[in-house]
């Protein structure tokens, strides 16, 4: 599994296209799709928004993420970092942010390479630079 993290609009998708030999069309925006479709995808982006969809459907995102890590070990997952701010007042938002953190830790643990992208610049924070 390959995992790309970073803030919004930092060039994460472009980084994946440039370095992982995949086209943009092969990266599905799961922020805009239903849960049932997920198994059809090879690579995904906006996984943090997909976590919201899972929560709305009353599906445990942590369990779901564990299954993905087991069954989709070739996948590239792109996800925003969302935890570096003030704790939201709204309980649902608070929960979502916490679950994003936990799911991110699970994906990172199961990935052979983790890249953090800022201003289009990717830094390998886990794994071998040579994988790029």
């Amino acid at each position: 599994m390959k995992f790309i993290v970073g803030g919004a609009f930092q060039g994460k998708t472009e980084f994946a296209v440039k370095n992982f030999g995949i086209s943009e069309a092969e990266i599905t925006d799961v922020g805009k799709c239903s849960v049932n479709q997920f198994s059809e995808f090879t690579n995904v982006k906006n996984y943090h928004i997909f976590i919201r969809t899972l929560m709305d459907m009353k599906i445990d995102p942590i369990e779901f993420t564990n299954v993905i890590c087991e069954k989709k070990s070739d996948m590239v997952i792109i996800m925003n970092e969302v935890g570096c701010g003030i704790i939201p007042m709204d309980e649902k938002e608070r929960k979502w942010r916490e679950i994003c953190g936990k799911c991110g830790c699970i994906i990172a643990e199961n990935s052979e390479i983790v890249v953090r992208v800022i201003c289009g610049i990717g830094t390998v924070i886990k794994g071998d630079n040579a994988c790029l």
């Binding site: 701010g85 003030i86 953190g101 830790c105």
Partner: protein, 173 residues
């Protein structure tokens, strides 16, 4: 040895900080700073308690006045977290407007007392939202405290989804 561990919400800071604090011999203390108010606080306290269980930490509760903590010289202290300390100083009855000096100096004093201090803090300045004046001040003061601690820390570790990134010094575990 002073180590600051920073990062976003639920990104594995506590687990890394515990591992660092456990790497030292001598008595281990956990400074709990979260006031047990509300369901979320109870859940967080319980979760952290379970994580520490069996690791030999003695828990000291200290919500404010971190400078008053007394520990033996040869001890390893895990302080969690700066965000609570700053909020507790600012937002409680008789709270102080600007806690930067008090919290920073208090932690520095603790660091001079114990052999090893591992401090957990939070990154709170990157969500891009505008907040009330009070919260904006909290963000400013928290970051100023983080800067202050960074200066006297031997190691500064940022945690990204469970992965430790060395910003200063080394990862002491």
């Amino acid at each position: 040895m002073i180590t600051l561990v920073t990062g976003g919400s639920k990104c594995g800071k506590s687990a890394i900080a515990e591992k660092i604090a456990c790497g030292f011999s001598g008595k281990k203390f956990y400074i709990a700073t979260m006031k047990p108010y509300g369901k979320d606080a109870f859940q967080a306290i319980e979760r952290h308690r379970k994580m520490r269980c069996g690791k030999g930490f003695e828990t000291l509760e200290k919500f404010t006045d971190v400078n008053e903590i007394v520990v033996p010289k040869k001890s390893s202290v895990l302080l969690e977290c700066v965000g609570n300390l700053c909020a507790n100083e600012m937002f409680t009855e008789n709270g102080i407007f600007n806690p930067v000096e008090k919290v920073t100096d208090g932690i520095k004093y603790l660091c001079e007392t114990a052999e090893a201090v591992t401090i957990v803090t939070n990154e709170i300045g990157s969500d891009g939202f505008s907040y009330s004046c009070e919260i904006e001040k909290y963000i400013e003061y928290m970051n100023r405290i983080n800067h202050g601690i960074y200066i006297f820390s031997d190691n500064v570790i940022e945690c990204i989804y469970g992965i430790p990134i060395i910003l200063k010094g080394e990862l002491p575990c």
